[in-house]
């Protein structure tokens, strides 16, 4: 029977992993992810989950061990955050390029120095080219559901890629809400056992993975990864629809759009800021202002067509990034501009960098940003990106 429990975002991720029934977990603790790996240890040591748990000595080793286990054709899980993700970076490429569908929650946290344990998206944004599917969740139920959906997506024979579910430090990771959870048996129809169709380590059918491939092969192997992402692009709505049919919940596909149909200005953001934006929109709508909000749930594969479609009726976009690519702009703003430029509807895109290192971004701030978006719409241009709330 589905159960309703009150848990943090971290525990939602851990319960989802338990529901998915992984064979091997390899993990290393880092604030604010620790609760996930602690709970997984509880599940394994209490016998609730029959899995091998490798308590490795670093995040680099965590992903390396996941790679080793996944190469046997086994479902594999880990979780990390911030510096842990940064240390893992080499192995993120390795899992992507070896086509191993490891699933990993990433609790988005700022990088040091100075030490800062609060929310910031720079950690996962820095990994966008590593061959990992990226989802960003906005509530604990979505964390739970997305972990299950991601196992299904990543293990699909057309995809076979690793994937991360990103959740905001503390705002989600340490905040309890009620969520519905399932036993493995209840979801096994949705998430069947992983059947590696491409390759695995097997003495009865010995194959090598990763030996030197020169320029005559490397390009095609890279393109094959790109094809995996394109397959994921097709499957994401299908898998979400199947999840909805079975469990009655969906979270918006690529983009969770709120009152965008007749919106003149749309605020786009990721993670919890994307959900907070709905409050701003409600307040503005109450005043008769045609605002909308759109939360990017999927960053890789990037929803180019969906962003273009969203722009078709709007006059301007406001993009709020909780990350900064120094010397350029926020990551989402950059990608959204790129998507629009490839389309036919070139509306102004006003970029805001906000909330770095966990600074609060409230709906009132977003109202101010949307109002600036209306000015950009009137002028027909967005101007330079703005650093919202910067104290100088």
């Amino acid at each position: 029977m589905p159960k309703t429990i009150s848990v943090t975002g971290n525990l939602a991720a851990a319960y989802a992993a338990k529901t998915a029934n992984p064979a091997v977990i390899a993990a290393y603790p880092i604030t604010p992810q620790t609760e996930i790996v602690e709970k997984m240890a509880d599940f394994v040591e209490s016998g609730e989950l029959k899995a091998e748990y490798v308590r490795v000595e670093s995040e680099h080793s965590a992903m390396a061990a996941c790679i080793g286990a996944s190469a046997l054709g086994l479902r594999t899980f880990t979780a990390t955050s911030s510096h842990g993700l940064a240390l893992m970076h080499e192995m993120l490429h390795w899992a992507g390029r070896a086509r191993l569908p490891v699933v990993m929650p990433v609790v988005n946290r700022a990088l040091g120095p100075p030490w800062n344990i609060w929310v910031d998206h720079t950690d996962s944004m820095a990994t966008r080219d590593t061959g990992w599917i990226q989802f960003y969740a906005a509530n604990n139920q979505e964390v739970y559901d997305t972990v299950l959906e991601l196992f299904r997506l990543c293990e699909d024979p057309e995809v076979v890629l690793p994937g991360m579910v990103c959740l905001d430090a503390f705002i989600l990771s340490h905040t309890s809400t009620a969520i519905v959870v399932y036993d493995h048996d209840e979801i096994s129809g949705f998430l069947p056992a992983y059947q590696p169709g491409h390759w695995k380590l097997d003495p009865d059918d010995p194959m090598a993975n990763g030996n030197i491939a020169g320029p005559e092969y490397y390009y095609e192997l890279s393109y094959a990864i790109h094809e995996g992402f394109e397959a994921a692009r097709k499957l994401i709505p299908i898998i979400e629809q199947d999840f909805y049919k079975r469990f009655g919940r969906r979270h918006g596909g690529f983009i969770n759009a709120y009152r965008c149909n007749d919106a003149e200005v749309i605020l786009l953001a990721m993670g919890t800021m994307g959900e907070e934006a709905q409050l701003a929109v409600e307040h503005l709508r109450d005043q008769g202002v045609a605002a909308g909000s759109a939360r990017l749930r999927v960053f890789r594969p990037f929803p180019v067509k969906e962003v273009q479609a969203l722009a078709a009726k709007a006059k301007a976009f406001v993009v709020v990034d909780r990350s900064l690519s120094y010397g350029h702009a926020g990551a989402a703003a950059t990608e959204i501009r790129s998507a629009l430029y490839r389309g036919t509807h070139h509306i102004p895109v006003l970029g805001f960098v906000a909330g770095l290192g966990g600074r609060d971004v409230r709906y009132t701030d977003m109202i101010t940003m949307i109002q600036a978006g209306f000015k950009a719409a009137d002028k027909g241009e967005a101007g330079a990106d703005q650093f919202y709330g910067l104290k100088r």
Binding site: V54, E57, A65, A69, L201, P203, A208, G210
Partner: protein
Amino acid sequence: MVTIKEMPREEYIECGHAACAGCGATIGIRHALKALGKDTILVVPACCTSVIQGLYPLNALHLPVLNVAFMTAGASASGVAAGLRYLGKDKEITVMAWAGDGGTYDIGIQALSGAAERKTNFIYTCYNNQAYGNTGLQRSGATPFGAYTTTTPTGKREFPKPMGRIMAEHDIPYVAVICASYPRLVFDTYRKARDIVGTRYIEMLTPCPTGWRFPGSKSIEMGRLAVETGAWIMWEKQGEDWRFLDRSKLIAEGKVARRPLMDYLKPQGQFYTLLRDPAMIEQFERWVDREWDVMKRRVGC
């Protein structure tokens, strides 16, 4: 000890591999794999064997091979071992990490130490050619004192760290330090290691004609000179029991004398700067004496 005739005829590394002529590591893996047999999974970090196994889409190794990142041999093998345990196949299938000295002494020591501390059920081989061979001979933590490398052009100033003893101090069930120039010993060591449960560390000196600068036809001879002069000591530790092996045992027992160190240093180009400096040669000799003292105390003779 196994005779050459008794060794299995099966080859797990094919001719057509991409090693340098006379490669000691390739001689070593050939006999190691004969001992381990078909039910073996290899985990290979960046090292000469990344190249030796040949170019995609072919592979000279007739075993499942997971190539992994440089510093991860111990960790990646931990994942494979955990997966095999989950599948209940950990008794029938041997996991062997096969790493070079750079991947072991330097960049990979953390992952290896962690794997040993977790009592990971696998064999870790450090095939030691005493430098970063794959990248064109740079200094590693295993490079001998005085040796020329491209990053120590006037000779290395430090002695290698005692990696075998460091692993023995991890209290793992089996440690062996051997040399590829003794194929029968190599075979017996791997056969013994295969049937032990837990972390097994085997370090094999693998003479490198390209790096050490001697003719490829002299690889076996060069490894034997290392052992016969005492510059390389072969030993094993099983449980609490330390033993010298083969020729090193005869030396320790006083049945044969150590040949002069110069017999080993002189035929190699890698010691050309050292050989010009009698004080450095003397320092090297003192280090060899000390290594024997330390090892004799461990063995208890």
